[in-house]
Amino acid sequence: MVRMRFPRQLAFLAIAAACSACGHVAAYERGAIARPDMTTSDLSGRAAQHATEVHEGAARSGAVSEAGCGCN
């Protein structure tokens, strides 16, 4: 049986630490950041995203996830 305990406080601390270490990036320094593969969106295609939603009980979050099941 899978039993899990989340160190949530540790996760928030790690994120806060990462952000506090940020430097200021000027507009002319963002050539690498502007690449399509640097997007903060999911790189998976729509079919792969839907397969993940069907295969993982935790999926289907977000303000407007894709409607429908396809597994009824």
Partner: protein, 387 residues
């Protein structure tokens, strides 16, 4: 009539885009078409063609996106066979649209989607507000979405038999530039669901209280048929569910490669706790080709009412029961690869591109009837054009 309306809309859009170009606006447009195929060892196969489009003006800050897909699903899984049913084929159609306007640091987007199958109708709509801070080194996003799903039976009108559930989703996220080559995004989601999401085709075998504890994970259809009580009941899930998730995504540009990692934590009021980790490397293989591996790990604990064998008596049946493997304890391990080949002209090679991806997923079901593992494969080929 609908075709005539669509043609009028297309002509109007074309004229408007032409006017916008004449006014000096830098209109950018993209279109893509994807063909994906899925197959698994539980005898489920899905073919999914899809198209999507984007029109926007980056300097003016507006964009419009749309997409449409068809899922052709063919299944003869062990759950279907165990109810003495044959293979079924079903078609799902889904589409959506999004409009966004962000002239300066503050932006707004609205979007909606619809999905339709003979026995399932769902729609969702929502919006996001974004604001850039610190000279666009930090972006904050707030989102809300509402969805309504109607679940029925094939061949029976929704007015005769159906049940529905609603979901409200809220999320907040931030994106931070760490340095010139690294970006971090963190998002937290809360989803409140209410209504009946039980599947009307999902029959749950029942066992006497003396037999139920001895039912083993992976018990065959024949063994379950021998042990179970004559009565079967359909799935029954709680009528409300609160879901919480937090996801962090980091992308870093390295010399000759882009590395991406993502991790999520999830918990809900049904008792599922889940963790996922996802990694991708995309190596530059020449000026037009990038290629790289993809790995994903996912683990979840079961819902609190999960049982491999549900015990029942003549007077008492479990209030909640399910056979949905994605509500049980499971581990998924995915490995795959993705390649992008820019095939546009020398002046703009990425104006046309081909993207191929393949993922294989091994799922281990830790406390389920019938099967204890599943191997699945998903491949897709996408062509993208921009101008």
């Amino acid at each position: 009539m609908q075709l005539r309306g669509a043609l009028l809309l297309a002509v109007s859009m074309a004229a408007w885009l032409t006017d916008a170009r004449a006014d000096g606006g830098a209109i950018d447009a993209r279109a893509s078409s994807e063909l994906a195929a899925y197959s698994d060892t539980d005898h489920v196969a899905v073919v999914t063609p899809s198209v999507s489009g984007h029109v926007g003006n980056a300097s003016a800050g507006w964009s419009v996106d749309g997409w449409y897909l068809v899922d052709v699903i063919s299944a003869a899984s062990v759950d279907i066979v165990s109810t003495a049913s044959g293979r079924w084929t079903e078609v799902r159609q889904a589409g959506g649209a999004r409009g966004a306007y962000k002239p300066h640091d503050l932006g707004l987007s609205v979007e909606g989607s619809v999905s339709s199958e003979p026995d399932y109708l769902a729609y969702a709509a929502g919006g996001y507000v974004t604001e850039d801070l610190d000279d666009r080194n930090l972006s904050i996003i707030l989102g809300y979405g509402y969805g309504h799903d109607t679940i029925g039976r094939t061949g029976t009108p929704f007015s005769i038999f159906s049940h529905s559930f609603d979901h409200h989703a809220m999320n907040v996220g931030l994106t931070r530039l760490i340095d010139r080559t690294t970006v971090l995004a963190v998002a937290a989601d809360v989803t409140i669901e209410s209504g009946d999401s039980s599947k009307p085709y999902r029959y749950i075998p029942l066992f006497s209280p003396e037999v139920a504890p001895s039912v083993q994970a992976g018990a065959s259809v024949q063994e379950v048929s021998r042990l179970r009580l004559p009565e079967t009941v359909i799935e029954r899930l709680p009528l409300s569910r609160d879901r919480y998730g937090i996801t962090a995504r980091l992308a870093r540009r390295l010399p000759g490669a882009t590395a991406r990692i993502e991790s999520s934590l999830y918990e809900d009021s049904w008792g599922i706790k889940a963790f996922s980790a996802d990694g991708r490397d995309l190596f530059d293989v020449g000026p037009r080709l990038s290629l790289g591996p993809h790995v994903r790990y996912y683990v979840q604990s079961p819902v609190t009412f999960w049982k491999v064998g549900y015990a029942a008596t003549a007077d008492a049946v479990p209030a909640f029961r399910t056979g949905d493997r994605e509500l049980g304890p499971l581990i998924n391990l995915t490995g795959g690869a993705r390649a992008t080949w820019n095939i546009g002209p020398a002046a703009a090679p990425d104006n046309w591109s081909l993207v191929a991806s393949f993922d294989a997923t091994y799922a281990r079901f830790l406390d389920d009837l019938y099967i204890t593992e599943r191997l699945s494969a998903l491949g897709s080929l996408t062509i993208e054009a921009s101008w």
